[in-house]
């Protein structure tokens, strides 16, 4: 029974990772940028949610919408102010990564100054749970599962059916050729960063109920998301989501033999295992090696 409960909890956390990983993978596949600042976008979404719901007393769905918008704006701003100029200057691939880490650090710092470094919780009572077959599911688990199902399906449809989706896929495949066909890289990028950042915001809303919001949650979340992306196979978006669930699951199961403080090390061990045995991930799509 304990293992089953760990599985449930792990999948709940995994859903959150899946959102962040999917957003990151979307951006990485479309632009080739290792957008580590995604962690700051995530954190901002969480704080926006907290501000809306706790400080401004808005209803939760509205608060979530506020968070999604705030994150989307921030993500798009990073693309326009940082990555686009770097592309225009034909900078090295590593430069955008370092700039991204810079934005992540700066973002965390600003959030820490504005909101303080203590963990902010959405509510003071513990989460309500329901019991299903003797297992406890809290509302975060349920909401995460439902949202994941709905939103991931929607994105899959979007990518396959819509013109926007086709543009993204064309661009991921072959940026130069796409431009020849008139697909505007700027537009695609804006949409991709907006969408990816929005997904991160949803994850932040979920996590704020679970473990609260702290400014430095970005680094750790980004690392976990990246491992999820690699586990799933970097070039495959559903893989990123699946990777998120898997990493969450493994992390949850690790609580059985190990105590909670080894969780991050577990994630790292998963990463090393995959890098050694199957770097192309479960679904077999390697990380692209982008050169300047």
């Amino acid at each position: 029974m304990l293992v089953a409960q760990l599985v449930i909890n792990g999948l709940g956390a995994g859903a959150i990772y899946a959102f962040v990983a999917l957003g990151f993978a979307l951006i990485y596949n479309a632009t080739g940028v290792l957008h580590l600042a995604h962690g700051a976008v995530f954190a901002l979404g969480g704080y926006a949610f907290y501000t809306a719901v706790v400080l401004l007393k808005m209803p939760i769905p509205v608060g979530c919408l506020v968070a999604v918008c705030a994150s989307a704006v921030f993500g798009i701003a990073i693309e326009k102010l940082v990555y686009r100029p770097l592309r225009a200057r034909k900078s090295e691939h590593a430069s955008s990564m370092i700039a991204s880490i810079g934005v992540l650090t700066l973002g965390q710092s600003v959030l820490g100054i504005v909101f303080g470094t203590d963990s902010l919780a959405m509510q003071t009572e513990p989460l309500k749970t329901i019991s299903v077959f003797g297992l406890y599911l809290n509302y975060v688990h349920i909401t995460a599962a439902v949202l994941a199902l709905v939103i991931f399906s929607a994105i899959q449809v979007l990518l396959v059916r819509s013109q926007f989706g086709r543009a993204i896929r064309a661009f991921s495949d072959n940026p130069k050729l796409s431009r020849v066909f008139g697909i505007n890289s700027d537009h695609v990028n804006t949409l991709v960063y907006g969408l990816g950042s929005g997904l991160a915001a949803i994850a932040a809303c979920l996590i704020s109920f679970d473990s609260g919001i702290r400014p430095d949650v970005g680094f750790s979340m980004m690392f976990t998301a990246l491992v999820a992306v690699i586990v799933g196979g970097a070039g495959y978006l559903p893989g990123a989501a699946a990777g998120g669930f898997l990493v969450g699951l493994l992390q949850g199961l690790s609580l059985w033999p190990f105590s909670a403080r080894w969780q991050e090390v577990t994630v790292f061990a998963v990463l090393i295992a995959f890098l050694l045995i199957r770097p192309q991930g479960l679904f077999g799509y390697s990380m692209m090696i982008r050169r300047a």
């Binding site: 880490i101 100054i113 990463l271 990380m287």
Partner: protein
């Protein structure tokens, strides 16, 4: 006067660290996000051996270097042979978890309390107590690090590193074993960082995990890029600027601002601005590689 000696010593320590980081980033093209963790492992092993096992300072540092190099090698072998962004991520992860591991293994490392009472080294009965003697000792150590880096860079090995940095595929087609060379230089840089780690342990006589975390890594990156990652002068200039600036701020800056919180943000902002406007650093290196 003591204060100036302190600032100078700190700058020298960082300079040695940045020089070893430059070897990776500027010369081999390896963006290592794990450098601060090797710095920390060197410091911690030195501390544990001198404080808990009563070792002398020199064998302790030597053992710390060997241990750190071994760990770097073990991490480097599986990750460096994977191209592209994989090893960046693996090193990013390693940096994050090393702090975790140090804090969690509290039987060995005393966890979040750190290790205190690290003895100062003494050279033939002449103790390197604070002040001038230690500064000179640090200058010597950093000088040796600089010498090693310079010799590597200007040797045929340096040519191989530059080739790998510029175009790995072509480098391999010229007979360079890219994976082995990268692993080797990664290990060397980690060993150099461990030496500085040992000196740091001796200087502050106290080590704790958060002195070697990802925030410190960001600071090292900022120092490296401010000075320019290909120049030894840069390895001095970067730390000088980034150590002196907050100190000046402390005297004349606005009251009530928590400097520590702001500093990290400024380092991040600095990295962004450098990448956008001055990717070669504030100190322009000579155009061609020296040789």
């Amino acid at each position: 006067m003591n204060y100036l000696l302190h600032v100078a010593t700190v700058i020298l320590l960082y300079a040695g660290l940045v020089a070893s980081l430059n070897l990776l980033i500027g010369h081999a093209g390896i963006l290592s996000f794990a450098h601060a963790s090797f710095y920390g492992i060197g410091a911690y092993v030195t501390a544990m051996l001198t404080v808990y096992a009563g070792w002398d300072w020199l064998p302790a540092v030597a053992a710390a270097v060997v241990a750190t190099a071994a760990i770097a090698f073990l991490i480097g072998v599986p990750t460096l042979r994977l191209g592209g962004d994989y090893f960046i991520l693996a090193l990013f992860g390693f940096q994050l978890i090393v702090v975790d591991v140090i804090l969690n293994l509290d039987d060995v490392t005393n966890g979040p309390f750190g290790i205190r009472g690290i003895p100062r080294p003494s050279v033939s009965d002449y103790g390197l107590a604070s002040g001038w003697p230690f500064l000179i000792g640090t200058a010597v150590v950093t000088g040796v690090v600089f010498l090693i880096v310079r010799r590597i860079v200007t040797s045929p090995l340096g040519g191989k590193l530059h080739a790998i940095r510029d175009d790995e595929t072509v480098a391999a087609a010229l007979g360079i074993n890219v994976a082995r060379t990268k692993t080797m230089i990664f290990t060397v840089a980690a060993a150099l960082a461990a030496v500085i780690g040992g000196m740091t342990a001796f200087y502050f006589r106290f080590v704790e995990a958060n002195a070697f975390n990802s925030e410190v890594m960001i600071l090292l990156l900022a120092m490296a890029f401010v000075g320019g990652t290909r120049s030894l002068w840069g390895a001095v200039a970067g730390p000088t600027i980034l150590v002196l600036f907050p100190e000046i701020f402390r005297f004349i800056g606005p009251v009530g601002v928590d400097l520590a919180k702001v500093q990290q943000g400024l380092y991040g902002l600095l990295l962004v601005l450098l990448m956008l406007f001055r990717p070669l650093g504030l100190i322009r290196p000579r155009e061609r590689d020296s040789q």
